[in-house]
Symmetry: C2
Subunit: 550 residues, 2 copies
Amino acid sequence: MITPNRDDELVFLPLGGSGEIGMNFNAYGYGPPDDRKWIVVDCGVLFGRETTSPGVDLIMPDIRFLAEQRENVIAIIATHAHEDHIGAIPHLWPMLRCPIYATPFTALLIEGKLEEAGLGDKVHPKRVPLSGKLALGPFGIEFMSITHSIPEPNALAIRTPLGVVVHTGDWKIDPEPLLGELTDQNALKKLGDEGVLALVCDSTNALVAGESGSEAKVRESLTNLIGTLKGRVAVTSFASNVARLETIAKAAKSHGRQVALVGRAMHKITDAARETGYLKGFPSVIDESEAAQLPPNRVLYLCTGSQGEPRAALARIADSNHPNVSLGKGDAVIFSSRVIPGNELAIFELHNKLAGLGVELLTSEDHFVHVSGHPCRDELAEMYRWTRPQISVPVHGELRHQSEHARLARSLQVPQAIVPQNGQLIRLAPGRAGVIDEVPSGRIHMDGRVLIEEGAGLARHRRALAFAGMIAITLVVDGKGRIAAAPSIIIEGIPEPVHDAIRAALDEPIRRHNPKRGDDLRENVRRAARRAAENAWGKKPVTRVEVIEI
Amino acid sequence: MITPNRDDELVFLPLGGSGEIGMNFNAYGYGPPDDRKWIVVDCGVLFGRETTSPGVDLIMPDIRFLAEQRENVIAIIATHAHEDHIGAIPHLWPMLRCPIYATPFTALLIEGKLEEAGLGDKVHPKRVPLSGKLALGPFGIEFMSITHSIPEPNALAIRTPLGVVVHTGDWKIDPEPLLGELTDQNALKKLGDEGVLALVCDSTNALVAGESGSEAKVRESLTNLIGTLKGRVAVTSFASNVARLETIAKAAKSHGRQVALVGRAMHKITDAARETGYLKGFPSVIDESEAAQLPPNRVLYLCTGSQGEPRAALARIADSNHPNVSLGKGDAVIFSSRVIPGNELAIFELHNKLAGLGVELLTSEDHFVHVSGHPCRDELAEMYRWTRPQISVPVHGELRHQSEHARLARSLQVPQAIVPQNGQLIRLAPGRAGVIDEVPSGRIHMDGRVLIEEGAGLARHRRALAFAGMIAITLVVDGKGRIAAAPSIIIEGIPEPVHDAIRAALDEPIRRHNPKRGDDLRENVRRAARRAAENAWGKKPVTRVEVIEI
C-alpha cells in the first residue's frame, strides 16, 4: 500500500440512495481535490409513482458531476443484482464508459440488461469470483459475502492509503440463507481488528427492533402452511429471492403439487440462477397449460405481481384474464412478500379482486410467510461490533431511517456519525470527517423513452394538469392585430358546467381589444379564462393562449 | 308492532361503504316493492386521492335512486360524527330534504356543517338522547351506546314488523373508553334473546386477530412515555378522538407541561365536546404564542396533521413555517395515530422532514401510543355471541374485509352471510335473504366546487393528462376549406425534444390536404401528431384539434 501524498483525500459522494430507499449510486474518490480518481458502487433505479411523478417509469441519479470527468472514473462495482442497485447501468453507463465489475450472478443479469439496451457489444461486465479482490488505481477492493434476499450479495472492503471503508451493500444476518454463502463474519471482524475508518451501511430497517429472521424459518412455515391448503395454490414473491422460490417449489413438491412459473421475471431469474450454478435441487416445473389440467390440489403457481403491478401475472389472474391460470372459490393465494410503501392501495385492490373471486388470502399480516432482507437494529449493532468503525455513514434510507441509524451508531459509541444527502461530498480522511462541498446532483426521469431532469418540472406540470385540467385558446388576428375570427377554445379535464363560463368570459377581452392601444390581448384572454374557471369551479386550470396572424 | 302485509318486504340497500372504508350510506326500506318507506343510516364522504381521482377533494355516493322518491325517505340517522358517516350531509341533504336525527354531540357537529354550507336555516338535526328511541313510519329505532373512537358512538336496533336488524355503526369493545358510555351489552344481548334477523356490522378490522385494546391502556402508556421526554413535545392524533385528547392533556399536566392546541380541528372538536358536557376534567390550555415562551420541558403541543395533510399544523411545523411553533434537536413528536392506507408516503415525507430538523419520532410502530376504534376478530365474535343473528351483513370495508368477515360469521354458525356491494338491493325478509335487484349507484366527485358523476370520467381524463400531457392544435381554413395560416400548436407536459417531432409531423397532412377530396383534415392532423409523439417518446398524449374558418 502506497503512502498518501500531502494533498490526498478520501471522499464519499452519494448521488443516489441517501434520502430514499432505491436509486443507489455511491462514489468514492481518492487523490488531491483537483485530480481525484473515482469508483462507483452500485447504479440503481427508483420506480416512478403516479402521485409524485405521473408518467415516469424510472428515476435515476443525475451523475453529470462524474460524467464530466469520466476519464477519472475507474469502475462501476455492483454489490448485488437488485434493480435499485443495477437498474440504471444501461442508462447511465454511456455517460461513464468504464469497466463494470460484479460477481457471476449479478454480472449475468447486468449483461442481459446491457444487451436489451443495445449495449451488448460495447461493454461486458467483468466477473469477479466470490470473495474476489480488485486493484483499481488507488483503491483495493475486496468482495465479502454477506446475506440478503438475492443470490450473491456482497459487502465491499475498500482499501485506500488513508484507510479502509466497509461498504455493506444490502444485507442482513441470516444464519440459514438456504442458498449461497453465509455472511463472512471473519472477514468483517478481521477488518475491525485492523481498524475500519468508515462503515457505509444499509439503513432500511433502522426503525425496526430485533432481527430480520431467517429464510430457513420461512421455509418451515410456508411448507406447513401449503400443507393445510386443499384447492389451487398461487404464491407470489419477489422473483429475485431465489432461495424463496426454491422454498416454495420444495414445499409444493413435498405436498404432491407440481409447480408452474407464471410471469416473465420468474423464468428470467430462475434461468440466471441455474446458469450460475444455483437451484440444483429445484423441482422440475410444468408449464401453465399443463398445470390447468391437473386437479386443484396437485398444482402450485409461482407468480409475479406481489406489489399489485397491473401487468404482472397475479393482476391478470385477479382480473380473470390470464390465458392459462384461473382461480376461484376454494383456492388460495399466499403473498410471500412485504408491502413496499406506496404500493398499499394497488396491493389492496388486488386483494379485493381476489376476494371477489372467492379466493382465500394469506399474507404476512397473519402468517409467517416472509422475512425482510435488511438488517434490523440488533443486526446493525452486531455489524458495528464486528467492524468498530471511526465513522458511521448511514445510506440506503430516507432521512427518518438514516437519522435513527446515526442515533443507534452513536449509542454504540461510534465516535462520529454523518447522515449524508445526495450530492454532498464528504471527506472521510484525513482529519475529522465532514461535508466539504456540494456537487450538482438530482434526479433524472425516464419519461416514456426520454431522459429528463426532474428539475425541469415536466412531471410537476403534468400534476397541475391532473389537478385542474387545461384550457388552450387560439386567437386569430389580421395584419393590423384586429380579431379576425371567433377563438378556438379547447378545454380538457374541466367539468362541463364550467366550460360555458370560460367561453363567455372571453367575450369581454376580445370585444374590448384595441390593437392601437397596444394592450396585451394574449394575457388579457388568459387571465379572463382562468378567473372564470376559478369563479365557477374553485380551481385554476393550466391556461395557454396562442395568436395566429393571417 | 303492526302485522306485516302480504307484499311487505324488509330490504337493505348500501349506496356507500360496501367495497370501501368510508362514504358510509346505508338505506333500509320497508313495504311493498312499489311503495317502500326508507330510512337512511349515515351519510358520509370518502377523501379523494391524487392517484385515482386527482383534483377531487371529496367522494360521495350517488343517491339518485332515493332522491327520485324522496317523499318516501323518512329520515337520515347518523350513528356518530366521523366524516365518513356525516360528511356528505351538507351536500346530499338537499336531494332528500328529510329530518336528520343524531345524539347531541353528533347533532352539534352536523349543525355546524349545515351552517357552513348555508343550510343552517333549512334544517336542524333533531337531538336524540343517548339510548333514545324513535318511531319513524314502519321503523322503530333504538339507539344503543357502543364504544368507538369519538364521543357518542351508537349502534341501532331497527325494529320492523318483519324482524329486528342490529346496525352496529363503527364500534369496538372498549372496557375503559375513558369518556362516555360503555358498550350497552345488555341491550344487545336482550335483542339476541328476542331474536335478531340481521346484523349489519363494521368489517374494518376483520383481518386482525385478537382485540383492538383500550383507551385506558393507551393513557397509561402515553403518560409514561411523555414522562421520559426532556425537550418540547408535540403529539398528533385524530382530533375527533376526544378521549385521546384528554389523555394527552392529562399526561402533559402530570409531567408539568402546559398544553397548546395547534390546528383548527383541535379547537373545533374540543369546543363541541365541552358544549355537550364532555371534557370537564380537561386541563386549561394556553395559546401557541404563550407556549413558545415556556421552557421546552414545560410545553406540549397537541397538533392536527397525523396523516401528513399538507396544510395541517404538523406539516407546517415540519416545514419550519408555522407562525408560532417550531421544533428542533432535542424535541420529540409522538404520532398517537395509525397510518390510513394510501397516506403512507405523505406521512413518511412528514417524518423525513421532522427527522431532518433533528426531532425524535415516536410512532405506534415502536411504542404503544394508539389503539384502533374498530372491532378485531375476537370482538366481532363477541358481538355475534351477543346478538346471534340469522343473517350477517358485513359492511364498512373493502371486499377483502367483508369476505373475511363473512367467513368468520359462517364459522360462528350464523346461518347466512351476505357480502353486499353498493347498489345491491338485499331482501332481508320474508324468506331467504338475497340480492333481489340492483339500483343505480356509483360515486359523485366533489371536484373543486362542482359535483360530478365519477362515471363521467373527468378524473380519468385528467389522469391521462398526467400520464402523457396534451397537444391542442388549431387549424385555420378559408371558406373553401383551404389552409389559410400556419397552425397553432399548444403542447403541455411533453418533453421538449418531442415538440419538434410533433410540429414537423403536421406538415404532411396539412400540405396534402385537399378540401375537394373531402378528406378529414382534423382527424389526419390528430393522428399525425399522436403518432409522432409515440415514435419520439413512446407515449400518446391527449390530442385535440379544432378548425377555425375565416
